[in-house]
Symmetry: C2
Subunit: 366 residues, 2 copies
DNA sequence: CTGTTAGCGCTTTCAG
DNA sequence: CTGAAAGCGCTAACAG
């Protein structure tokens, strides 16, 4: 038995319009009737057909969410928040993860458009240009990261990479590190590039210099971290600290450090980027730059909602800047050579495997 | 300019029926005309309206996929494969992650039904009953794990937890462990229960016994693993090995072991379950029971496809059994007391931090 | 307050 | 081989 408005209407002895109104909570329905209709609906467990509704109303009540590989935990955490928000505001969310797989990007755009999403958040952190163009053409409201919003339907969400990366660099420098390596993400990702540049600038700022050997290109996977660390260890000079473009990379670096019997942070300090939930559970817990996933998801959602719900949001507004910030944990410590000098001055053995730690948070966060 | 069949038709100077046929590759369209139509479609970048199509055809070409919390990497890995398959077979996939959040489960069912999915894979590993019932009522083809398929539209996909868990238990026993703890998932999850029972049986089988203190209930999060290990360490007797109901739990256990200055595997052996990608990157790499995510996703997808594409798939078939299997890495080693005895016999120091290892794979996998 | 009716964009007979 | 026309289930005027 296929249920539809007509069937409900006939059972409740009203017209289909009344059923429709009841479902949509139009207040002009006499309460007694509304209750009667509702009872029938509940009895038969009727759910409206979204397709019919979208077709006639022109609004699908679906938001698209385009992310990169779901296997990087950073993205599921965004998805989770975004979905929660959708739930709260009665929007479906159509998730599309764009892998390197060619055609996948195009596919994502196609899905979103075919399903006539009311708006789409593009949080791929890098290769969004083609998507943005596709949605602009079809006049689909969109929000993306660090783009120039050339028109009212495109909102932007900026990220201040510099702030957190500066904290990381200064934290390391304060601990006496001078040889600091950086493992970047894939060069073609804008976001990865931005992080690397921020690193470079922050290093320059304090008058340090980084040997070209210390700038390794990775691809934001754990495997890349492993390889990068192997390369670093094989070099003529070795860094005493390494900053990674994301947490996955840092995990890979730590893995390889373990392989090389390097103890963290005694022999090597490691800093991640993202602060995924995992960062708290590495051994040792990872010092990393937090970029709040939920804040990103929330801001993106709000931007979309704002664009859709208010007709004349003519001004292509900037939806604020997401700040990044260093979270100190235990993968960073005093630079090995400074530590040695401390040892010489003060011959008594410090207890166990503990490494002396500086509490810099108050300084860094001034 | 809102594009639709009519518009394309008028531009290509054919009827809308012909455009429809062209799009759907109906072979009776004269090639010359088809080309003309196609050119117009490409020029204007037209995408059909899925809603209209679904409405009239009665088939949405959408598969639903219900998973548990996406923040456990096990699930994204399934989602990835399932989506790839959707891509390949021209199905949308609508992902719904069911968190503990009350109402979220109901919401998932509602979404699937309102969007008239052609089938739904329920891979929540535990609390699927309500969902299954909802889909049964509405005659939505479904596939779920370890259910009794009472009717043709419900397929089942079985998982052999025992096989892998037995390997884990025997591996540990062979290394001389007698005090083996088990950190389970939440008691209300069928799948977690199944794992715990399998563990118990495998222990019984070899005549070992496990103290009640060694059976800890967790909830499949890293936090739970941490707490479980803390509890274990605080007990009157300590286990020399712990098997976890999933990899997340194992990561938490390792994290806490580190906190307690327990070295793995010298002081404690740890075994996970799932073999998520992360298991290769813990320090040390995690010995774990593999349950192939891609195999699960693939089997579920095939079951759905089979149900949908063949009208009269009357027989409610079992879609095979997924096997589980121990993957040896480096979080397990010889039991501490046996190791000590070895040390006594053979006084020469073994090199560095290496722990003697047995290569049991060939035996275990006979 | 409630009912009637005209489509939304598409697929699918049924005629030509 | 191509076109005309009848809906799919629903919303939104417009009447009553």
């Amino acid at each position: 038995m296929t249920m539809n408005l007509r069937e409900i209407a006939s059972r409740a002895k009203v017209s289909i319009a009344t059923v429709s109104r009841t479902i949509n909570r139009v207040p002009t329905v006499r309460p007694a009737i509304a209750r009667r209709v509702q009872r029938v609906i509940d009895e038969v467990g009727y759910y409206p057909n979204i397709h019919a509704r979208a077709l006639v109303s022109g609004r699908s009540h679906i938001f698209g969410l385009v992310l990169s590989e779901m296997t990087n935990p950073f993205f599921p955490e965004i998805a989770q928040t975004f979905e929660d928000l959708g739930f709260e505001h009665k929007y479906e969310v159509l998730l599309s993860s764009v892998t390197n797989n060619p055609g996948r990007l195009e596919m994502a755009a196609r899905r979103m458009i075919e399903l006539r999403v009311d708006g789409v958040a593009i949080l791929t952190f890098g290769r969004e240009d083609a998507l943005i163009e596709a949605f602009r053409l079809r006049k689909v409201p969109a929000v993306a990261i660090d783009v120039e919003p050339s028109e009212p339907l495109l909102k932007t969400l900026r990220i201040d990479y510099r702030y957190g990366i500066r904290q990381a660099v200064q934290h390391l420098a304060a601990l006496g590190h001078t040889g600091i390596a950086f493992v970047s993400g894939p060069a073609h990702l804008k976001t990865a590039l931005a992080r690397r540049i921020a690193f470079q600038e922050c290093i320059d700022e304090i008058g340090l210099r980084v040997s070209p050997e210390f700038l390794i290109e990775g691809d934001h996977t754990m495997e890349a971290g492993t390889k990068a660390m192997a390369a670093l260890a094989a070099g003529s000079v070795r860094p005493s600290a390494v900053i990674c473009s994301n947490d996955m990379t840092a995990i890979g670096v730590m893995r390889q450090a373990f392989e090389l019997s390097l103890e963290i942070p005694r022999d090597l300090s490691v800093v991640g980027f993202d602060d995924t939930h995992f960062a708290q559970f590495t051994t040792p817990p990872l010092t990393t730059v937090r970029m709040s996933q939920s804040e990103i998801a929330r801001t993106a959602f709000q931007a979309l909602l704002h664009t859709v719900e208010t007709q004349r949001s003519r001004a292509s507004r900037d939806f604020g800047t997401i700040k990044t910030e260093l979270v100190l944990r235990r993968s960073t410590g005093i630079a090995p050579d400074r530590l040695k000098r401390i040892g010489e001055w003060n011959c008594q053995q410090s207890e166990g495997r503990e490494t002396p730690r500086l509490e810099l948070q108050s300084v860094l966060r001034k």
